[in-house]
Symmetry: D2
Subunit: 160 residues, 4 copies
């Protein structure tokens, strides 16, 4: 059993046609799992629905708390890419004996050409096979929380 | 480095608008890797482009040969779902010291609501983390080649 | 008020993931009208759901009968492209005092890159503005029923 | 021959994955015409690429000038929906002897579920059949410039 903790991020942004802006509404994770015909036993919990640039220390604490509180020993967290590394670090400080994998997307799932479905398939697979630790699953790779950064110019995650 | 061996299957079927039928043309795997912003070092090789119901023993031998010949110790094979288990078995008979992961799709990638991108992300991730052996990555799970079947009624892969 | 008579054709083909073939299920016309935010007053009636290559004279008679029976003086018919011209001719023989516009698609709406939505918007607009007569709306153009053929090599409709 | 004058609007917004915001880049109109297999003789001219809420009187003058300058007697203008009615009014003041049809979209074409393709097919068809005048083509309907408003609550265009 894997817990999927939803925090928002580009993954879940959608177009609000009344305001003409990007906004959050409901998470797309259940629909994505359906599309992927996913049969992994998962429990999806929406913790918050925010842009990761607006994530506070209190938000990060509540994510770490949810990791600790979850009965599952394997956790996937969907998260905005901009501060994903910071949240990974905040969780790692707690030294949980769990496999925790953060993932996200560069383009909203609701838009045509998103990397979200690829990343979700990747994150769920890494979560099933990697030993306890905190990881970031982006670009088809798994990075240890303390050896990764987002290259803002290219939008690609890379080792330090 | 991971070798991606392309054999066709639903994954790569597309709509031929002249004939009004499903047909194979070029593989979509490079486009899917681009969409997934994949930065895993991969070498894509198209071995054949066929429906897996038409796959012969000779075809399976040539897939096994390609696994053996590849310099990479990790291999992903895209394959039709109908006989994926048979091909996995044929490859496993060779007892290569490689991690070999077969994957496919229930709906063509070229169509709106395919599981292909999810499965490719999943297969590439399992290929990086699982020990040597032959596996099937479908439905977000990894199955050992000798403990899996496709349930034809539901279209879902399950343990024996 | 416009009657939309659904007969099937590529427009409504979809991928049957159990059989791995193209098949008909329900019409996509209501979903397409929703997507197009269409506010034209329409009544959608599904007459049949077949490939136009399999359409018989009896089928064409029943389509003409439905045109006659409809209380609306403006009618859009969704139809396979292969024999659309024949059906237009069969309807025109009845010399109804109605504006009747046949349309279809080269690629199924359910697949990624269909012309269906463009054609439906076009057909509904021609149906509102053209005088009584039988027309084919394809490729953004409206053709009189007796001055049109489908160029099978290019898949494009053209004047005789 | 129809002139298609591009001014931007939701139609052409896309997701900028570096900034995580909506932005304009190139117009999608040529790609949409290709998708619709459009064979109407058109000349696409990009006048500006802006949100219609930012459109100035000078911008509207330059659009009217382009209508006048175009050798084609039939013109389609892609435009943001928020001030489409104002621009229609500004063009109508010039009393050109041309058929001028403004259209747009509630959801960007680049995103999954846009009305853009439907609206473009509709606008091009109205432009071919309506007499000289200035119109708005939205929701599958054609409105005279002086009998239309956008209902901001519903996002639907309606008669006064």
């Amino acid at each position: 059993m894997i817990a999927i903790l939803v925090t928002g991020g580009t993954f879940d942004k959608q177009y609000n046609e009344r305001s003409g802006t990007l906004a959050f509404s409901e998470t797309h994770v259940p629909e994505m799992l359906r599309l992927g015909r996913c049969r992994v036993d998962v429990a999806v919990r929406q913790l918050m629905m925010i842009d990761s640039l607006e994530m506070t220390d209190a938000d990060r604490r509540s994510i770490a708390d949810a990791c600790l509180a979850s009965s599952e020993s394997r956790v996937v967290i969907t998260h905005g890419t901009d501060t994903m590394v910071e949240t990974a670090k905040a969780i790692a400080a707690h030294r949980f004996e769990k496999t925790i994998v953060l993932t996200g997307a560069m383009v909203p799932y609701a838009f045509g050409s998103s990397d979200g479905l690829f990343n979700l398939g990747s994150a769920l697979s890494f979560a099933q096979t990697l030993p306890a630790g905190v990881y970031i699953a982006m670009n088809g790779r798994a990075f240890a929380w303390n050896d990764v950064r987002k290259n803002r110019a290219s939008g690609i995650f890379e080792n330090l």
